[in-house]
């Protein structure tokens, strides 16, 4: 049995189902993200682990003990909120010490641990400030220290960076991961930001409409999405409507241009399918080794520093293609005809019925 186990967990509210058939095993020290759009049930699931919601069905076990119905204040689980939720009437030190005071730890132990926590979040000189005297990023670091001070069995973070501005978000994200690695604490991190989830997690749980779509490492989630939803929600995706020409050989037609998807297609010849390709799978110009080619007109170019994003009109579809920047890079002009190449393995074939929402950025 894993360290934290959720088995067949469900949560029904009076008029809708928030979470259903949720199964997940988290190993000790693992950093797992719940990723999905708002209303997908990720926060509800987290709140069931924290003890703020009771599952309608199923079981949650932590370190071998059934905690499904244990009150939140007896779970020893640290929680960090989007709104920081620091106690406004207490100083930074008192906030961090709160949990230990409740546990009736000796005063000198509390003092030592608060010092240690302040050191971990690099805020030694802020101990006597009140929350309203701190910036958002500082408040969230204090909230993290407060949650970690009680040496929780699991750390839960509910969109901890959503209220912060972009720069702080990036640095605090790295800090959270460093602290988590250093302390080896089992962590569940809820976010709707795929970049955040991809960069920080050991494993990602992609959720949609109360169900798990896919569980996997960031690499697996990004490179081999198993459902159309995961493919479209994680990363940018070009979706090309096409017609199956030869199902067994994996040949399709994108408008009037042939594409080889490299594997047999389940749909019969003549059926409509969607072929999805990541922007970074494209290269400029011709290539050998059985690569596919698509010809189109350059509509626009965006220089993003390390990459250049081309928008190319291919038979009426606008394709985003990311080309790595280097000293020798010769960029085409707007309106110029170009050839894009990509390997058959880069193609993901999705059934036509699949709802693909987040197509092109």
């Amino acid at each position: 049995m894993a360290y934290l186990d959720l088995q067949n967990v469900e949560k029904h509210f009076t008029n809708f189902t928030a979470v259903q058939n949720f199964n997940l095993s988290v190993e000790k020290g693992e950093f797992v993200s719940f990723l999905g759009p708002s209303g997908c049930g990720k926060t509800t699931t987290l709140r069931m682990v924290a003890g703020f919601e009771t599952p309608s069905a199923g079981e949650i076990t932590l370190a071998g003990a059934d905690i499904t119905r244990l009150p939140a204040n007896r779970r020893n689980i640290g929680m960090v909120f989007q709104s920081y939720a620091l106690f406004p009437n207490m100083t930074v030190r008192d906030n961090i010490a709160f949990g230990m005071k409740i546990a009736r730890k000796p005063a000198d132990e509390i003092r030592r641990r608060v010092d240690e926590m302040l050191g971990i979040i690099h805020m030694q000189e802020f101990g006597h400030r009140f929350p309203h005297q701190l910036s958002g990023g500082q408040q969230q670091r204090v909230a993290l220290a407060r949650a970690l001070a009680i040496q929780p069995q699991v750390l839960l973070l509910d969109e901890p960076l959503s209220a912060l501005d972009a720069k702080i978000r990036l640095s605090l994200r790295q800090e959270i991961r460093q602290i988590q690695r250093k302390l080896g604490i089992t962590t569940i991190y809820v976010t709707h930001d795929q970049e955040e989830a991809l960069s920080i997690s050991d494993r990602i749980v992609v959720m949609n409409k109360g169900r798990i779509e896919q569980v996997g490492t960031p690499l697996e989630i990004y490179n081999t999405p198993q459902t159309a939803f995961v493919a479209s929600f994680v990363g940018t995706l070009n979706v090309l409507q096409s017609t199956v020409k030869d199902a067994a050989a994996g040949h399709v037609m994108v408008a009037d241009q042939p594409v080889n998807v490299g594997k047999p297609i389940r749909e019969p010849g003549g059926a409509a399918v969607a072929v999805a390709i990541r922007p970074e799978a494209f290269g400029l110009g011709e290539a050998g080794n059985g690569a596919n080619h698509l010809r189109g007109t350059v509509e626009d170019m965006y220089f993003l520093g390390s990459v250049v994003r081309l928008r190319v009109d291919v038979s009426g579809y606008t394709i985003s293609a990311d080309v790595f920047n280097n000293q020798q890079l010769a960029l085409p002009n707007r309106g110029e005809m170009v050839t894009l190449h990509f390997m058959p393995e880069a193609c993901m074939v999705l059934p036509k019925t699949a709802e693909v929402t987040a197509g092109v950025e």
């Binding site: 939720a85 949990g99 409740i102």
Partner: protein, 264 residues
């Protein structure tokens, strides 16, 4: 707000308003100093001396003071957990409670007193001395309810009470700890606001105290007013000063604490 000085018309209206308030006050004060005018002393504070030296004043004032403090304690104990729970778990009840808070404004004190007397007629609440006192405190708690509830409710709105509660819970706190170490300290200003308004209501309250034959400060002022000439004005000035002082205290305390309660 712009730095405009305001039109002369606005200043004029303000002036008229201030005159309307201040003239009677000054007139009362002036009258209260006339007790020895007939003997050729134009300004005398003998009336104040008489008022303050009457033992009944201190007795009735202490009586009302004690009543006010008990009322505040009961009111806080009922209202704070109620308002907290409604904001946390039963937000759908807020309109109902808000309607209920209007009732003490709609129902006259006479009706309230008679309703209480009739409802509890023949029980210990009307037949014993302590019972009647309890009845009076009960009535005052009802009168204080709108002020206390609205003040506490506003304070709760300013806090992210749900996240604070859950943060405390995840750190191991039970309901008692949450209420007394997290909720109440952050609501101190609101509670004090409600408490001072309750205080100034109860101190001078006449109708209920008199209908229940209680020796309160209100009935005492009234009895003085019906027996003396200059002393009631002196008493009115003292009572006004006390109320004014209370309000000043509220403002002071809330200004001092505002910084500590600011929440983003």
């Amino acid at each position: 707000m712009t730095k405009r000085r305001g039109s002369p018309l606005a200043w004029g209206l303000l002036g008229v308003g201030m005159l309307y308030l201040l003239v009677p006050l000054l007139a009362t004060f002036q009258f209260s100093t006339q007790i020895q005018a007939a003997r050729g002393i134009p300004i005398s504070f003998l009336a104040y001396n008489n008022v303050l030296s009457a033992p009944a004043l201190a007795e009735s004032f202490v009586f009302s003071l004690r009543t006010a403090l008990i009322t505040i304690a009961v009111s806080v104990l009922i209202v704070v957990p109620t308002a907290y729970w409604i904001n946390l778990r039963m937000r759908f009840l807020r309109p109902v409670i808000e309607f209920l808070t209007l009732l003490p404004f709609v129902i006259p004190a006479v009706v309230l007193a008679f309703a209480l007397i009739r409802s509890y007629n023949g029980t210990d609440l009307t037949n014993t001395r302590d019972g009647v006192y309890v009845l009076m405190v009960g009535a005052y708690v009802m009168l204080s309810f709108p002020y206390m509830y609205r003040s506490v409710d506003t304070g709760l709105q300013a806090l992210n009470i749900r996240a604070l509660t859950e943060a405390a819970q995840s750190l191991g706190a039970g309901w008692g700890t949450i209420l007394f170490r997290v909720v109440v300290p952050n609501l101190l200003v609101s509670i004090l606001n409600g408490a001072f308004i309750t205080f100034s209501i109860v101190i001078g309250e006449y109708t209920i105290a008199s209908l229940l034959s209680q020796p309160g400060f209100g009935p005492y002022m009234f009895s003085v007013a019906s027996r003396k000439v200059y002393e009631p004005s002196a008493l009115a000035m003292l009572s006004f000063g006390l109320t004014f002082f209370t309000i000043l205290l509220i403002q002071r305390l809330s200004r001092g604490r505002n910084v500590g309660t600011a929440v983003r």
